[in-house]
Amino acid sequence: MTNSDWPLYEVFVRSKRGLNHVHVGSLHAPDDAMALRHARDVYTRRSEGVSIWVVRSDTITASSPGEKDPLFAPSGDKVYRHPTFYDIPDNVPHM
């Protein structure tokens, strides 16, 4: 197997305890264990992380790349889901 045949992996790094894993980039690797090692070498050389997830890119199901994807249309006209939709007088504290 040559490098170009290796599957693509997406890399997620948790920068510190308590925070979510965040997508940082991708890399090719022959298997999961090597992907993890490469991810360590490529993305956490300066202690950027305390935990790494790698996941094969072809296992990710994604929405279409356009920001105007009709998938998101249902939330477009529901302004009442936002707190600022409601008028609360200035003399009402803590709300």
């Binding site: 948790r14 305890r17 308590g18 936002h82 007088p89 003399n91 009402v92 803590h94 709300m95």
Partner: protein, 296 residues
């Protein structure tokens, strides 16, 4: 594993907690910590899900399309909150099915507040203002709880709760600008919900034997009585601006325990409804599974 290795793990856990850091799913943790979290997060998740019922009661009878859309959106949010919390709980090695079964069997509890009926439309406003308000008071400090997935779920939930409280208060304020009859409805609703809302913070500190351990573990950040006092203080000026009188703060803890143990006005109805909804939904889950398996 050797005893020395065990001690190392416990020391690592203690050091993480002492530093105010978060515990993450793959970390070693004491069994008591895990059990306490499962109980608390499950109870919290069940409360979000059962909490949909008292308000859901009014969706078809909302007085306007605007109010109906708002109430639907709020109840929908609560379903989402339940899911965030069930997912956080599952990182501790329990299954969704187990959690569901323990809710139905009564082995795990949910907040006593949802065992009271919603008798008038004003209750929708009162629940948003006081019940979601008390929940927010309880949940804001939990954003810093020591278990990572729980804290992150709470952050998402708190962001969404603000709309819940504000829509409730705005609803009540609208009724207070209406007729004498509407104002009386608001006051009557507040009279029924104020004390049950105060009980949401749990029993007095003296009768809450697990609080100290939970605080030592960084699961809880404040005692029940501290949070209750904070909520009372925040609510007073809000009630004054609204023009309602808050009943006293003397609480009947016998009533609380009776409801926790299943003797509230709606306990049996809430669980029966949850079970029916789950059973009635079985064909949807089966159909989705069959579709996913079918060749396409």
């Amino acid at each position: 594993m050797t005893a020395a290795a065990d001690e190392d793990l416990a020391a690592g856990f203690d050091a993480t907690i002492a530093a105010g850091d978060r515990i993450e799913p793959r970390d070693w943790m004491p069994e008591g910590y895990r059990k306490t979290l499962v109980r608390q997060i499950a109870q919290h998740a069940h409360s979000e899900i059962i909490g949909m019922q008292p308000e859901g009661n009014w969706i078809t009878r909302a007085p306007s399309l605007r109010r109906k859309a708002i109430l639907l959106a709020k109840v929908q949010d609560e379903a989402g909150h339940g899911l965030y919390l069930y997912s956080a709980c599952e990182t501790l090695g329990v299954s969704r099915r187990d959690l569901m079964e323990q809710l139905i069997s009564g082995a795990q509890k949910y907040s006593s507040i949802f065992n009271y009926p919603t008798l008038s439309y004003a209750d929708v406003g009162t629940i948003g203002w006081l019940v979601d308000g008390a929940a927010i008071c309880n949940q804001v400090p939990l954003c810093r709880t020591s278990y990572g997935p729980y804290g992150r779920a709470m952050i998402r939930i708190c962001k969404e709760e603000s709309f819940h409280q504000r829509q409730g208060y705005e609803l009540l304020a609208t009724m207070m600008r209406g007729t004498d009859e509407q104002r009386a409805m608001v006051q009557e609703s507040v009279d029924r919900f104020w004390k049950p809302a105060l009980m949401m913070f749990g029993p007095p500190d003296a009768d809450s034997p697990n609080t100290q351990q939970s605080m030592d573990w960084g699961i809880k950040r404040h005692t029940n009585d501290e949070l209750r006092a904070r909520f009372i203080e925040m609510s007073a000026p809000q009630a004054a601006a609204l023009g309602v009188t808050l009943p006293g703060n003397d609480l009947d803890w016998d009533e609380f325990w009776r409801i926790v143990k299943g003797g509230g006005p709606c306990n049996a109805q809430r669980i029966a409804h949850r079970k029916k909804a789950h059973d009635d939904g079985a064909w949807v889950r089966e159909a989705a599974t069959a579709y996913a398996r079918s060749p396409r």
